[in-house]
């Protein structure tokens, strides 16, 4: 079996008294899209920036393509591409000039015209960076990340702050990378992104990996239960929800009850009976198939974007 392209073992990183990364370990195989899923402040960016060679770990080992990002220098940079959490370029640099500039810095590079076409930037090729929309800036950042035709691509929150339409465009591009057998490490706090794009996901919270596996495996860990979100006219007595038929887990978020049930019909019938007995009213009820969000809630007791 081939050695993993990315290997992270027992990684630690602190900023003063704040421990951002606390013993993170994972590995990524060649051609795999691997996601680090977690809320803001979970330690995802610190981890990926250590992999990019931008930060020095306090402890632990990191290997990408068999190289240590801290020591390998330009040899390493020639083999990887990256999108930072926020990319910025000089305001008066034109789109084509930006790609040309970064292309010239690498030994091997893709033709600028080809990248402009692939990322739908031909019409904006002479536009100044400051005049681009958020989506265009992110497409340019992706073009610059791929200008050296890298073996490994790091994408730190590639769709954060973008509207859904642009987000879907970026997903298509990342799926293109998957087809091209690039090894991709993506950090995100969007469930949809992780489920749609990633072959495997590590759920990160407070600097630790709390679960990892394929999205399907992780969702199965959620006991295959359906999530039922209920809003009531008046709160129920303590623990009443948790004792309803077939409920495996019950938590309260923002005035709504989130139940996990292996047999939703029985749970709903029991809920209605309970409400009638207490003279309470049902304001809304929504049912969801299990998602990675449910896994996160079960593991941490919090929503992903709290």
């Amino acid at each position: 079996m081939a050695a993993p392209v990315i290997e992270v073992k027992d990684l630690y990183k602190s900023y003063g008294p704040v421990e951002a990364v606390r013993g993170v370990s994972f590995s990524v195989e060649e051609g795999e899209v691997f996601g680090l899923l977690g809320p803001n402040g979970a330690g995802k960016t610190s981890t990926v920036e250590i992999l990019e060679g931008l930060r020095t770990p306090d402890r632990g080992t990191v290997r990408v393509c068999g190289l240590d990002p801290q020591d390998a220098g330009n040899k390493y940079k020639e083999r990887v591409g990256a999108i930072l959490q926020s990319t910025n370029l000089p305001d008066k640099l034109r789109v084509k000039e930006a790609i040309d500039l970064f292309a010239d810095l690498y030994d091997k590079h893709i033709d600028t015209g080809e990248l402009l076409g692939r990322f739908q930037l031909q019409e904006k090729s002479t536009a100044f960076y400051k005049n681009l929309s958020g989506g265009q800036k992110q497409r340019l950042a992706l073009a610059m990340a791929l200008v050296n035709d890298p073996q490994v691509v790091f994408l730190d929150e590639p769709t954060a702050g973008l509207d859904p339409q642009v987000r879907r465009e970026i997903y298509d591009i990342i799926e293109g990378l998957k087809k091209a057998k690039k090894t991709v490490l993506i950090t995100t706090h969007y469930i949809e992104e992780a489920e749609r794009l990633c072959d495997r996901v590590a759920i990160v919270d407070s600097g630790r990996v709390i679960a990892h596996g394929t999205p399907r495996e992780l969702k199965h860990r959620s006991a295959g239960s359906t999530r039922i979100e209920v809003r009531l006219a008046r709160p129920l007595a303590n623990g009443a929800m948790a004792h309803l038929d077939a409920v495996s887990d019950c938590r309260e978020f923002d005035g709504a009850y989130v139940l996990h049930s292996a047999r939703p019909p029985q749970t709903i019938v029991a809920l209605v009976k309970q409400l009638e007995a207490e003279g309470n009213e049902l304001q809304s009820l929504e049912m969801f198939s299990p998602t990675l969000e449910d896994v996160f809630i079960e593991l941490t007791g919090r929503r992903l974007r709290e």
């Binding site: 990019e52 931008l54 330009n74 930072l84 910025n88 370029l89 640099l93 010239d104 690498y106």
Partner: protein, 309 residues
């Protein structure tokens, strides 16, 4: 070398698109020139050459101002950290700053020479080779000082304050605007420790055509040593990350860049004749004035007291 050249081309393009840069590097020196022309008129003679030397000095010295601000802004905006992902080190980043600044300054300096020649009615070009050498070494050295300032300051505000302080000292105590001879003795002694003094004196005497080759060599060596030391220090202190703060101790490295000028200053104070050069040039200007009395100005500079020439 290829990375340096690539970055230099882009930096030049960006500078040409930057209105602030164009204002300070092109328009401001021209405003000084217009002021000089209005004050002096088209009278010709050595005084015009002296003004040209001073004007070139101000333009060359200005290198440190723009470069430090640009580098700190790039760092604050996270632009530098994007470059850090690419196979490019601090050396090419800094070298491209110096080269692009030099390339952008040359046309301005040439325009200044031509406009001075015409507007001030200069009768001589001075010593063009000496002017070219001092402009080249001076521009690189003062760019390097700017890069050091960018290395030891953390924010644009901090950079601006330090720049203003240094700029004022360079402008008024180097002989670029106020002739050293009319300043008190202690200021003249202190001025001998400043790189700006060597540039100003060198360019003024070169523009007047009175510079001697040994003096040009001394001024050039001072600037070249300073630029090499300053470049190496700024390369070592270079920071890509906005949040990477410079250690307070690192700020003392700035003093290392001044070592060549501590040496020159000590030498000039003890044995040198730089202030005599300034006196001689002012004396020449006096002689060129209509109605000039033939009494030579008595120099009271420390160099002359210790080593009369």
């Amino acid at each position: 070398m290829s990375a340096t050249w690539t970055l230099t081309k882009v930096r030049m393009r960006l500078a040409a698109r930057n209105r602030t840069f164009l204002f300070f590097s092109l328009l401001m020196p021209m405003l000084f020139l217009v002021g000089a022309v209005m004050f002096l008129g088209r009278r010709g003679g050595t005084i015009g050459n002296y003004v040209l030397g001073a004007l070139l000095t101000i333009t060359v010295m200005g290198s440190f101002f723009g470069l430090s601000m640009q580098l700190v802004t790039f760092r604050e905006q996270g632009i530098l950290r994007r470059f850090r992902l690419a196979p490019v080190g601090p050396g090419p980043m800094l070298a491209s700053s110096i080269l692009s600044n030099y390339a952008m300054a040359l046309p301005t300096l040439l325009i200044e020479v031509l406009v001075c020649r015409w507007a001030l009615g200069l009768e001589t070009w001075g010593n063009p080779w000496a002017i070219f050498l001092l402009i080249t070494f001076g521009s690189a050295a003062f760019s390097c000082f700017g890069l050091i300032i960018a290395s030891v300051t953390n924010t644009t505000q901090e950079t601006q304050i330090i720049n203003q302080l240094i700029w004022m000292v360079f402008l008024f105590l180097s002989g670029a605007t106020v002739p050293l001879t009319i300043l008190p003795m202690w200021i003249r002694r202190a001025a001998l420790f400043m790189p700006a003094t060597y540039l100003a004196t060198g360019l003024e005497t070169s523009a007047m055509g009175t510079i001697a080759w040994p003096d040009l060599l001394t001024d050039s060596i001072g600037l070249v040593v300073a630029l090499l030391v300053a470049f190496e220090i700024s390369r070592r202190l270079f920071r890509w990350e906005p949040e990477a703060k410079v250690a307070p101790r690192a700020k003392f490295w700035v003093l290392a860049a001044m070592i060549p000028f501590f040496v020159f200053g000590a030498y000039e104070n003890a044995y040198g004749h730089l202030l005599n050069r300034v006196d001689n040039d002012l004396h020449l200007m006096d002689e060129a004035q209509p109605g000039h009395s033939a009494t030579p100005a008595q120099s009271q500079n420390p160099a002359q007291l210790s080593s009369p020439r």
